[in-house]
Symmetry: C5
Subunit: 360 residues, 5 copies
Amino acid sequence: MAFKKHHPSAGSRPGTLVVSKTSPPTRIDAIVYTEKTIEEHTSVSVESLASLIGDGHIAWIDVQGLGDEAVLRGLGEFFSLHPLVLEDVVNVPQRPKTEEYDGQKLIITRMVRLGGQAELDVEQVSIIFGANYVLTVQERPGDVLDPVRRRLRDGKGPMRRLGPDYLAYAILDAIVDAYYPVLEELGDYLEQLEDQVLTTPGAEVLQRLSRVKATLVTLRRSIWPQREVANALVRDPSPLITDTVRVYLRDVYDHCVQTAEVAESYRDLVSSLMSTYLSAVSNRTNDIMKVLTIMASIFIPLTFLAGIYGMNFEYMPELHVRWAYPSLLFLMFLTVSGMLVFFRRKGWFGTPDEPGRSKH
Amino acid sequence: MAFKKHHPSAGSRPGTLVVSKTSPPTRIDAIVYTEKTIEEHTSVSVESLASLIGDGHIAWIDVQGLGDEAVLRGLGEFFSLHPLVLEDVVNVPQRPKTEEYDGQKLIITRMVRLGGQAELDVEQVSIIFGANYVLTVQERPGDVLDPVRRRLRDGKGPMRRLGPDYLAYAILDAIVDAYYPVLEELGDYLEQLEDQVLTTPGAEVLQRLSRVKATLVTLRRSIWPQREVANALVRDPSPLITDTVRVYLRDVYDHCVQTAEVAESYRDLVSSLMSTYLSAVSNRTNDIMKVLTIMASIFIPLTFLAGIYGMNFEYMPELHVRWAYPSLLFLMFLTVSGMLVFFRRKGWFGTPDEPGRSKH
Amino acid sequence: MAFKKHHPSAGSRPGTLVVSKTSPPTRIDAIVYTEKTIEEHTSVSVESLASLIGDGHIAWIDVQGLGDEAVLRGLGEFFSLHPLVLEDVVNVPQRPKTEEYDGQKLIITRMVRLGGQAELDVEQVSIIFGANYVLTVQERPGDVLDPVRRRLRDGKGPMRRLGPDYLAYAILDAIVDAYYPVLEELGDYLEQLEDQVLTTPGAEVLQRLSRVKATLVTLRRSIWPQREVANALVRDPSPLITDTVRVYLRDVYDHCVQTAEVAESYRDLVSSLMSTYLSAVSNRTNDIMKVLTIMASIFIPLTFLAGIYGMNFEYMPELHVRWAYPSLLFLMFLTVSGMLVFFRRKGWFGTPDEPGRSKH
Amino acid sequence: MAFKKHHPSAGSRPGTLVVSKTSPPTRIDAIVYTEKTIEEHTSVSVESLASLIGDGHIAWIDVQGLGDEAVLRGLGEFFSLHPLVLEDVVNVPQRPKTEEYDGQKLIITRMVRLGGQAELDVEQVSIIFGANYVLTVQERPGDVLDPVRRRLRDGKGPMRRLGPDYLAYAILDAIVDAYYPVLEELGDYLEQLEDQVLTTPGAEVLQRLSRVKATLVTLRRSIWPQREVANALVRDPSPLITDTVRVYLRDVYDHCVQTAEVAESYRDLVSSLMSTYLSAVSNRTNDIMKVLTIMASIFIPLTFLAGIYGMNFEYMPELHVRWAYPSLLFLMFLTVSGMLVFFRRKGWFGTPDEPGRSKH
Amino acid sequence: MAFKKHHPSAGSRPGTLVVSKTSPPTRIDAIVYTEKTIEEHTSVSVESLASLIGDGHIAWIDVQGLGDEAVLRGLGEFFSLHPLVLEDVVNVPQRPKTEEYDGQKLIITRMVRLGGQAELDVEQVSIIFGANYVLTVQERPGDVLDPVRRRLRDGKGPMRRLGPDYLAYAILDAIVDAYYPVLEELGDYLEQLEDQVLTTPGAEVLQRLSRVKATLVTLRRSIWPQREVANALVRDPSPLITDTVRVYLRDVYDHCVQTAEVAESYRDLVSSLMSTYLSAVSNRTNDIMKVLTIMASIFIPLTFLAGIYGMNFEYMPELHVRWAYPSLLFLMFLTVSGMLVFFRRKGWFGTPDEPGRSKH
């Protein structure tokens, strides 16, 4: 849960790259296409990039894994990235943002997938695009962009006809839309938890609720700045984004807002479940107390009565009366009955509010 | 409770329609009117729309049910809808919003009705209008627009005299005003719950309160963006909306604000009832504890006294004293009286705060 | 508590008036004045209004009661009110707001008085003024405007010298200033409740606190939009309001802000009292538990000891020892003393925090 | 605690002064100075003011006590105060604000001092300055302005060289800086309370916490609008304030922000202490419960065993066995030991979290 | 925890320096460099500063310790600091801010390091830079700026090539980046606390949580205004900051936002842990209650039965029945069994929600 950032030690030179030893090795794939043609290259070297990028076609350079500093520096040089851009791309996580350097647009996004147990797998995807290329840098292999690749291969629709800004949009759109299935799964999980809160309100449920809440907070914190990114892309004038694509980006913006709102409403739901949980615990305490009080209130007075006639005083006339014993038993029966009537009046039996029987 | 959106799988082409198998079949009705005349057509086909729309009269094309992709695509083509507009209309729910494409205004709204048990039935209604037509698309048959249809048939007032912007306003107004009865019913329901919280504070009441709270949150989330929509319609310059109609739209805006505020104040009320509930549970625990403590505190010492004289020591002079037994009984009586006085002093009997007796 | 608005059924024609059968009958009074003269007319008819309004003098037409649709429609026609203005004036409650139609300024305000039991009596007062008249419409007879009437009769100060905008200001000012005594009364009531929370923290106190809280929320919701109204009147350019009067309106604005802040701070106080209340309940439970635990912990072991020597074993040598009984009694005394010391060490007696003895 | 404003009855003429009978009598002091000279006049009359104010020197007229309406009206006339300004100055409390009337700047501020028991003594100080005078009006005698007077007498620094705007700044600065010692004292008091929460968490501590919280809220509500005042003085163009003084006013603004933040952080601390308090109460309940449960669980079964052999059945063979009694005692010892082991396993003894022993 | 500011007594002359006796003595170090050369001077006197600052090279004057008023005043004169700037630099803490006086830029920042026990060591660092110098003033010796000094000695990168604005940026960047390790350590500490909350939920854990919360609040309050500072430096036009450096300052801004967000998310986590803690305490109470209730409910009725047959009535036929005793024992066995079944049905044994066994 602790925040781990690949940040250089405080005070080091800006542009310092922090390459963790556990980062997967860097691998570069490329898709080069025109409206009519498409070529795919896998595991290309930085040196061969020069032959892939050029006028008349668009190149999508997809980098996965941040383990190889030399390759990353090579990429930085090849694309003339500003040292701070390279730092943002490599020293993950950065806050989602968009910036424009001369002839290049940088978009930093956060891709989410749901691991087991309502835990989020969050990964930074940086998108940099210029006149005839799109460069994406991912922390790890594996992503949600396969449908984009398929649409490129297909060649239908505006995918290959429009420029790198459309491809960048398509990638951003895929990343944002991947929040929907995550939210749906969380929604289903919350429905399960809602049942559990009412039927088996133990410590574990609360822990699960806390965990979902943390997940939802993370989710919202991922979406919210992405919304600002989408908004900036729609609004800020830039020669790199055509008006045609701006319309599509407005759609991305709408999806960001909607997912943020759903995450928000789930958080409300979790809070509400938490207070239901606490109330269920209180009710349980009440139930336990009732059992104890009923048992004790009935039997303690009876035991006292029995104790009275267990005393060894010489002069206790009742002891010698023939009907004393049955009379006492009858008195005890009356006491118990009185108690039961009292408790029933108090509404301590057959509580009419048992969740199982509720109908509303 | 889980959020279910008809969203295409992440990364698919923008404009992809997601038609659920459970969606009702699509049905198109049309009302064609001039200031003097009115014609109604039911279950028309997409092909026959061309004959209904034209200069000199206004056509209201009302589409109900999102089950038939071909028909929906046909509508999209006929009205030259942007692929993203068609997506917004079909892949429900979208956040309420308004957008203008060339010659067309899109308004996405949310219509609510109250089902049983304080549950909301929320449905997206999309309104698209151009120079001489209004197109409404609803998720399901059944709506709150019958009064609008009646006013069209009537022909009184400005209804048939003014243009499609007025019709669009009338539809939007009917949708927004339908929030009032929903709020009133919720208000009545809350009054009932307020009684229950005080008289029978069981788990069920809390559950109902949570449910109403969720409903109110949903309601507010539906109204709030609609307020922005109304505001944008009033404020943003558009050739499609005349100044006459803008005045009316300002009225819609006021109603949105008012309903949002009422929903907000009901939420405050629910929170307040929840804390009253929790306090009622605490008070119950207190009551149970009091009964237990009183019973135990009175009888446990008495039992001890009885136990003393139940011992079988050979040399216990009291046992042979003639008045020992009655004296002990008297001592016990004194003990009980002392206890009762103590508890009364503590204010444990006849608590002066029983809700039934309160007068303020 | 439920929100009841006189709203027309959803979808009805804008301008539809909803006249409730329980509304008091409509009655029109008029005060016609110049700087030198003043005439008062009571229960005038709509038809005779024409003779009252004219150049050279100012007429204050005061309408009380919304029960007579024909009269209200007549007024609307006479003053050429926009249908939506008439709707706002009649279909109460509307949110406080100000709007300007040609030659007329509409101000919708909310007048409050305190009924018994901290319940608010809220009434909409609509103020419409033009070049030479002020029209006020109230829901019911009875208002806080008598001092304004007296100042008109007096004729001192700028009251009769300045135009209808000053009269409208004076009315608005009287309505806003009427919030002060309400707040003061609520403040006194809260002081009472504060005592009760500490001395008799029963369910009733909590209920009263909730009710005051609801009242404060209503109050704040009434004041807040009125603040915006005052601000708009000060700021928005309008030929109907002179600069002289604008200075006075700024004063109204200040009062709105101040009352809103006082209401806000009372709400904080109520929340604080609520948590004090809950804590008082917890402390009570603690106290009850302590009594129970002390009683049980002292007597249960003693009873056990007595039980030991109540057993009927044949071979229990202690039973026949001469000093066994007094020795046992002494042992019991030691046990009790030990217990008492233990509990005193735990700080369970003479808790040093009793509110009565606190000095800080 | 209730809010008491000297407000005129609703609807009265603007400019109505409300002079409370408990207000101290009005007393006017004056300091007249040039860069070289200084004269002090005490208890001057309104009539003699004319001789004190003039070109070539600056006069600080200091009015203390709001009990004398005639004097206050005289002042108003002498300085040609707008009726509303006079009302703001006399009918305290007003919200801190700044306004400019022709040739005069009005600043309304709130001076605080700490009375006993963390209660604030809040007093309105109105500062009005023009070309060659500064008029201050205070509710009561006694203030925090003596250092300003001393600096005037000293004559060092820019105090007597610069104009009335600098004097007004110096007064405002002294009033704002007087918040620091109040905050420090509250901070020390909170540290004490923090200890008490952990050592003696009784009802009194909670009450003290609530009171400090209320004080902090009042404090923040006093500071916050003063921040706006300082900001407006820095920012709004005015011929009455020179650029030299504006730089100093920015410093006042910074101090307002800082004091507001400290008050805010103390409020957070109080909330945090309150939840610690509630948790301490819960833990106490737990402790009490543990003692009860341990005592009851150990002795109730033993008493039962003793009860068994206290029965008077004719045929109970154990009673006649020689080693029965010691065997039973041994069995009882085993039972107790088992219980103790069980409770130790549960971690009910020597809880490792006693605050006293914590080291972190 | 109490706020201690070196503020002059209220009303004293602006520019008054408050030098605490506990402040470390003032010591001045200097680094003088050009692109090619670098000289370091330690413990220089104010008088010798004149020889260090001049055209053609840049001087970093680093002042540590605020104990020597004469030296501080000397510095103020040498650098012609405005009295208020000197006051801000010396009378710590000030709120982080940036201001520009003629030819000088003032940046007030807050440097944090983590002491033991999650306590923050916060120190004000003031940065003032002009055309050819950077002056830093620190409260105490010791800082996070050694890497900056090393980079200066190194001479690689733009460090010595660019002007004093770049040096000021490098110092600011080092201070902001030092928040990352603090946050990481807090994150690790929170992970530990999370375990403790579930395993040993005692009063100490809550106290630790409160302390971390306070630390996080302090942290956020330090970062937030620094974000505004960075933003102002990026945005406000100033001849003292070149566009090259502005790009780097944007990076500082991003880091401020990110650290603020992490601090924020940790605060959410702490709140969540606190509610988990409270719930764990409730669950414990429940557990204790269960043990008590089970023990009491089982043995109290049995003791009563034993009491019955311990009575000394003359006529109790059961006492003389041969199989009465074993029958009674059997009845007791049945009672216990019934109770155990009842409690098992209630789910009071082997609670299925023990955190240890949870798998989700």
